[in-house]
Symmetry: C2
């Protein structure tokens, strides 16, 4: 065990990792070597508002501590992966698109005060990237981009072995690489962003839009699909079966994702691109065409040594990375 | 004066900065505080081949040293800005698109041996970025992208106050951000790269292509322009006057440059974008529409504190940056 902790306890200290998502909150008790000792998740129910969600987070933190049969002196602290923009220095979440009403929330301070433990807060995509670097697909890699392909598209940039945050701590918006200057308006205010084509929301929006167009052209058209509630996996499944309603849209999603990665490769000359998140669950069905496009189109010099892989930590990337970042901050 | 140098000479030591371009070689004698004491430039005549050019470089280095009325003991070393890909660790140029026959040239070693001086070699776009950071438009800025808009489009990334080089020391290929997935084939092997629209070569190629198309449609068509030899400034001038042959092409050049910068801003959250090189000589005529597009389309959060400016060092950016990088390497 670590000598620095020996005055506190004879047991090995744990760190708690939290992944605050718009859909679910994941909480893990993590050993000093990154092993998940316990894990629980609860729905966020984002529409219930800030106070309810923060209380729920506190309850679940108490719950995981209680059932660990350890006490607070065995918990070195808490690392929280949260949606941003946020300030990792102060632990304040400036705003969060998927958490309505979260404006300038000092989450780090609130949780630290409630548990009398040190807390760090980091952008969720950065935390996932760091988790993959420390314990997942990108171990030993110093220059990499991790794309979180989910409801939206986020990104974590690890450059020279460190998270690169940029001037306002909000670098890495991989989802807002412009892939088509004449593309649709994006919720970010721009046009033709990668997120509009290759995120779950982008794919669903495009299917809905196509159905509307087809219904406008032919009022008798029946789509045979509940576009508003379709599961992402089903859209990929239908596309593979040749369903003409979704085939082009899924092909675009894959092509534009590849184009965005070509830009990342040419610009940042990373050693690795890691794909995580819901869409990455498509596995080789996603990875292979993306790799083919990138290795066909990116600069030859930049392809030397480049690896494009799926993440290894799945839904645990955020909690693992947040805990690891906490441990390193000590 | 710096005490560390007092054993060598009572005079303040100089550094020599070299900018090896495909068109011209610039050489400057630079004081320890970045002032250009003397400057000369000669045409590269790239077609004469490697040996002739390297001999010419040596001659001109002797010339600037001789006319400085100092001796070698007053020269602390030489910083060379060169086209790449190259390895700054070894001073070897792997290849150089604008210097035919330059394959695996140990330029650093060759010049070091000839002058018995320490030499560093850095990518020319990185050197220009560093020059602007140390003595030009980006003083005090730690996160910035410098775009060199010339024959091609290069880029230097300064992240967390340092040049970011990437896994193979070839990061920063801003000219190969993909701005149009269905765009023309680029010499890099990709398609629809920024360079194909917004570089001098890209603009000229598109004008030539348009003339060919118009001549194919109408054999009597006379373009009234010598597209192969047109000066870049003239194309911008004609576009402003409404010349239908070039107007759309110049508008595209500006729009795609803006789109590429939106991607850089969203991805890297820089504090500053610096435009240098021949096209940047268009000044506000270029800067204003680019700024307008970026401030309209980039993420609002990323625009906070963002400055988009022209470089201040003009053709001296490369020599100044290379010399500054040499000084810092000591």
């Amino acid at each position: 065990m670590n000598a620095a902790h020996s005055h506190r306890s004879e047991k090995e200290p744990f760190t708690i990792g939290v992944d605050m998502g718009g859909t679910k909150i994941g909480i893990a008790l993590i050993s000093c070597c990154g092993e998940i000792e316990d894990y629980l998740k609860v729905p966020t129910d984002a529409e219930q508002g800030k106070e309810v969600i923060i209380n729920k987070l506190k309850e679940q933190l108490h719950r995981i501590i209680k059932r660990s049969e350890t006490d607070l002196t065995n918990i070195s602290g808490i690392g929280i992966a949260a949606p941003g923009p946020l300030n990792p220095e102060t632990g304040v979440i400036h705003s969060a698109p998927n958490l309505p009403g979260w404006i300038e929330v000092p989450l780090g301070q609130m949780i630290s005060k409630a548990f009398q433990l040190p807390v760090i807060v980091e952008n969720d995509a950065n935390a996932a990237a760091w988790g993959e670097k420390m314990y997942g697909a990108a171990q030993g890699i110093n220059d990499m981009v991790c794309l979180t392909l989910g409801t939206g598209i986020g990104g974590g940039l690890i450059l020279n072995g460190k998270i690169y945050s940029g001037n306002n701590s909000i670098a890495g918006e991989v989802g807002h690489i412009v892939v088509n200057k004449d593309g649709p308006r994006c919720h970010c205010g721009g046009y033709g962003c990668l997120e509009a084509y290759s995120s779950a929301t982008g794919i669903k929006d495009r299917i809905c839009h196509k159905i509307e167009e087809m219904q406008a052209a032919d009022p008798d058209f029946v789509p045979g699909i509940d576009a508003a509630h379709i599961k992402l996996a089903e859209t990929f499944q239908r596309a593979r079966q040749g369903d003409s309603l979704v085939k082009d849209i899924i092909e675009d999603a894959i092509t534009y994702l590849g184009i965005g990665i070509v830009t990342l490769v040419n610009l940042l000359n990373p050693e690795m691109i890691v794909l995580v998140g819901g869409i990455a669950n498509e596995g080789d069905q996603l990875l292979n065409p993306v790799k083919e496009l990138v290795f066909h189109r990116a600069m030859k010099s930049h392809l030397k040594g480049l690896k494009i892989v799926l993440g290894k930590l799945g839904e645990y990337a955020g909690v693992t990375g947040a805990a690891a970042l906490f441990q390193q901050s000590r």
